[in-house]
Subunit: 221 residues, 2 copies
């Protein structure tokens, strides 16, 4: 659905790296691109970037050529672990966030912001399995779906990015614009189960995911 | 999050066409790719396909070379209008759906399935602004978030695809797998507003979207 907002006076930059999680990126993009913003996908080169599961996205701009973001966005995903040592990526996040109006992460994207020094002493959230790791990196882990601290907004795992993006649009453009986008994307969620958080899912399933987590210790929560 | 399912015995084909809506595609992909399936993006050629709003995705396979889908998926988006006359696309949907175990649409993807003859006399849903159009094409429009009729599963607008995909995984792989995926993507939605359906959003916003709809008459609901 078209939304009536022609003033593309906000530049939103979506950071790409190999092994990002598709929905971390596209949920917020679907919302933010409808609020009268110029949205750019940025990566180290213009080669396609593959998600953890085979979604290949073409960047619009390289880190080197990227204009200053008003909103800097970083998704999470299994690729976050190797990306912690990706100097070009981490330097890009540090440099851009220094002048961005809002710096935004979803899921384990928060760990990348922490690595870039953006979360030192700040309240932030991440995927439920990565909360302790976030604390080790100097942030103040906070178990909420969306956490605001100064210019930084962080979301919990994967799908939390949609809720985050609507809240961010409400802040940047007003609640009516956010509601208009919510109606356009018919975001009236009806999950068929109530298993979307570790205190709601069957304990055996929680334990199974914990054992498989890439974050140690496996009791991390 | 990794999910434990190695049996890639299901082939899920995601149909791409210019002007698709990003979240229509990536929400269900994020869920279905975690249930032990081989997921392929198919398009008329291997050139990148741009969403309505600048998300450029690389196809894995052409329509001509695509293996038979167990689950055939088609997203909606503004590109659906010109795609109604795209003979290669419509023939692909008709051919694949004839042997698919499940044929799935999100949002105005249902109109493409209707055009391909897949929805004749079947209950189906679509974006709230396109319900009447769906009826004109021979389906039985049904105002629910996810509608099942025989081998066809249809979802309402955009974000409904996530709910649909979880329900589909529950059917194909059992409820535990669906719950495991729901927890992995932390799908415990908390929209900041309750404006995701036309009977909930402020009437002025409903009217604004109705006036801007590409479907006529503008009172279509």
């Amino acid at each position: 659905m078209e939304v009536f907002m022609d003033a593309n006076d906000l530049t939103v930059v979506f950071t790409l790296y190999p092994g990002f999680t598709g929905l971390d990126l596209v949920g917020p993009h679907e919302v933010l691109v409808r609020c009268g913003s110029r949205c750019l996908f940025a990566a180290v080169s213009l080669e396609p970037v593959a998600s953890e599961r085979g979604l290949r996205v073409l960047p619009d701009v390289t880190f080197a050529d990227c204009p200053q973001a008003d909103v800097l966005f970083v998704p999470g995903g299994p690729g976050q672990t190797p990306a912690m040592n990706d100097e070009a990526l981490i330097a890009f996040l540090a440099r851009q966030s220094a002048a961005a109006r809002r710096t935004v992460s979803v899921c384990t994207g928060a760990l990348l912001l922490a690595q870039a020094g953006v979360l030192r002493g700040r309240r932030a959230t991440t995927h439920w399995l990565a909360m302790r790791q976030l604390g080790r990196l100097g942030a103040l882990p906070t178990r909420e779906r969306v956490v605001w601290d100064g210019p930084v907004v962080s979301g919990a795992g994967v799908s939390a990015g949609i809720d985050l993006a609507l809240a961010l649009v409400a802040e940047l453009r007003g609640p009516e614009t956010a509601q208009r986008i919510q109606l356009a994307i018919e975001y009236d969620p009806r999950p068929p189960f109530d298993a979307g958080a570790p205190d709601k899912a069957p304990p055996a399933i929680v334990e199974e995911l914990r054992q498989a987590s890439r974050f140690q210790p496996q009791t991390d929560l």
